[in-house]
């Protein structure tokens, strides 16, 4: 069964390399996107932390900023 699945009437090398390339591309794109997201999120948290209390209060009045901070602490 396993041999049949791998050999595929002599086409296994082509079929499995096409599927492997696809899955590797997916993994690479997912990881790159995830790293970019985390980097930007960390940058936001660091910038927010460096704001004085008045500016932080003003920034926190925006719902999206609160959401970003909440997500960053949850992750």
């Amino acid at each position: 069964m396993i041999n049949e699945l791998l050999f595929m009437n002599g086409y296994g090398i082509y079929v499995l390399s096409a599927f492997s390339f696809t899955l590797l591309s997916f993994s690479a794109l997912y990881l790159i996107t995830k790293v970019q997201f985390t980097k930007e999120q960390n940058k936001f948290v660091a910038k927010f932390g460096s704001l004085n209390s008045e500016k932080a209060k003003s920034a926190k009045s925006q719902r999206i900023n609160k959401e970003i901070l909440a997500n960053a602490t949850n992750n």
């Binding site: 595929m8 086409y11 997916f26 794109l29 719902r63 999206i64």
Partner: protein, 235 residues
């Protein structure tokens, strides 16, 4: 109506959605891979080499769909002066480009056992390669131009020029003598593909669509945080 597209409102949904989309993607992909590699029958002519279709065709469909959406969004962004449309278009592009590359590479792998060559300057393959170049130009433009006004203009121009190529890709198999066979799946008329092969193809297409949605959501959230980071600088 465009208030619905306001980033503040969208972020509430887009920030929570990726984990659910990822879960759904893994489930649908597992079913799709089982169908494509084990359960679906081999072709009477191509034997098991036909299984490459289950990654090649969905990748090509989605890359074409994404490029068309990017063009529509860029033109809409220009007409309605809505920056968010450009951000959505920009976030769609990376997965569209990767799907385009997957279609080219898996097509090349499929070409060897069926046509006896890795590459041919056939109308469909060449026009898909041109689409990849348009994707590359689009993505590079976002990296090299600093001014928003300029990047909006240039990326819209690239998509307008690139969209001319999309019907050429679709109809290349009818207009020219190519190595590719004519379309086996038609929305308006009866498809020539058997349901035992159509089903796994549709499942794999759904899995690929979910993956592009996942990447879009993650990329869009990154873009929104980037905008907010600039906002903090201005405080």
């Amino acid at each position: 109506m465009f208030k619905l597209f306001h980033p503040n409102k969208i972020f509430q949904i887009t920030s929570k959605a990726p984990k659910y989309v990822l879960f759904l993607f893994v489930v649908v992909l597992s079913v799709g891979l089982t169908e494509a590699l084990i359960l679906s029958p081999e072709d009477y002519k191509q034997s098991d080499a036909v299984r490459i279709m289950y990654v090649h065709v969905p990748a090509a469909w989605i890359s074409l769909g994404i490029f068309s959406s990017i063009t529509f969004l860029s033109i809409s962004g220009f007409i309605f002066k809505n920056k968010n449309f450009f951000l959505i278009a920009k976030s769609l592009a990376p997965s569209g480009f990767v799907f385009n590359i997957i279609a080219l590479v898996t097509g090349s792998i499929w070409g060897k056992p069926t046509w006896g060559t890795w590459w041919a300057w056939d109308a469909r393959i060449t026009s898909m390669l041109i689409l990849a170049l348009f994707y590359a130009m689009y993505l590079i433009s976002w990296r090299i131009y600093e001014s928003e006004e300029k990047v909006f203009k240039i990326t819209t121009l690239i998509t307008i020029l690139g969209i001319v190529n999309v019907p050429i890709i679709k109809y290349s198999v009818d207009w020219w003598n190519t190595l590719h066979q004519p379309a086996s799946i038609n929305i308006l008329s009866k498809s020539s593909i058997h349901s035992s092969m159509l089903f796994p193809l549709l499942i794999m297409t759904a899995a690929f669509a979910l993956f592009s949605l996942l990447i879009f959501l993650m990329k869009y959230n990154t873009e929104l945080i980037k905008v907010k980071n600039k906002g903090l600088d201005r405080l």
